[in-house]
């Protein structure tokens, strides 16, 4: 499989689906839904300054990030966790929101291209 994709490890998906096209599509659909839900909930959490909402979004996406190596998105979420601990919703949060949105949208775009 080509390594033009930088935001998600599709080899892990291929290893799991073993050429089962239906299963591959189901898995890609499920990853898309998970990242879209993360994007919406996480951004809502930032806009509403709600730490529980952000924590819930982080918690829910954790297995997907790890299982399919969504490394860039995982790093940005980790940076956001530190930023929130140190500065709360103050300095840097708008920039973090933009970085997070870019990373989430890049994953979604790669999944779309991969199909």
């Amino acid at each position: 499989m080509s390594k033009q994709f930088k935001n998600i490890d599709f080899n892990k998906i291929e290893e799991m689906v073993e050429d089962d096209v239906d299963f591959r599509n189901q898995l890609l659909d499920a990853i898309t839904v998970a990242v879209e839900e993360l994007r919406n909930t996480y951004v809502r959490g930032i806009e509403e300054k709600s730490l529980p909402t952000i924590k819930q979004a982080r918690h829910k996406i954790k297995p997907t990030l790890g299982l399919f190596d969504l490394e860039k998105l995982a790093v940005i979420i980790g940076n956001g966790k530190r930023l929130l601990l140190e500065n709360g919703f103050g300095d840097g949060i708008d920039r973090h929101k933009e970085e997070f949105l870019d990373a989430a949208n890049e994953v979604l775009e790669e999944v779309k291209q991969y199909r």
Binding site: K12, E15, M16, F23, Q26, L27, D29, A30, I31, V33, A34, Q56, H59, K60, K62, P63, T64, L65, G66, L67
Partner: protein, 138 residues
């Protein structure tokens, strides 16, 4: 004997990975998944109590779900005397000791933290189901 495996998890990714993990188990398993506890509670709500003596169930549930969470669902399961002995395994992204203790205190048979590697995740699911299947068939 066929085992009714019930997965309650609001993540489709997790449901698919679990479904794939059990596909090569030799035991006869009837797979049921629910994306929220309300759906599952509605599903079992119509069962006659005798059903849980005739059929064998294993329930694997996430904890962090909207509206009714896994703990509240566990309370409702254990409130039904006929389900007192149904194995319930809490399976969560959480690795907190508090969640583990809360699960056991409320009557879960085990608390497992979701591994972040596919192979480990699927192996954990397979060994867990094999263990409880063996226990129920014992």
């Amino acid at each position: 004997m066929c085992i009714n495996l019930v997965i309650v998890d609001d993540s489709d990714v997790d449901i698919l990975i679990i479904q794939d993990a059990i596909s090569d188990l030799s035991a006869s398993i009837n797979f049921n998944s629910f994306s929220n506890p309300e759906e599952f509670l509605k599903f079992i709500g119509g069962f006659h109590p005798e059903m849980f003596r005739i059929e064998k169930f294993i329930i694997i549930s996430d904890i962090n779900m909207p509206r009714i969470n896994g703990f509240e669902m566990l309370d409702k399961i254990r409130a039904r005397p006929e389900m007192a002995l149904v194995p319930v395994i809490m399976f969560s992204s959480s690795s907190s000791q508090e969640d583990a203790l809360k699960s056991i205190a409320r009557g879960a048979n085990a608390f497992l933290s979701k591994p972040l590697q596919i192979e480990a995740y699927q192996r954990l699911i397979r060994t867990t189901i094999e263990f409880w299947t063996h226990h129920l068939q014992g």
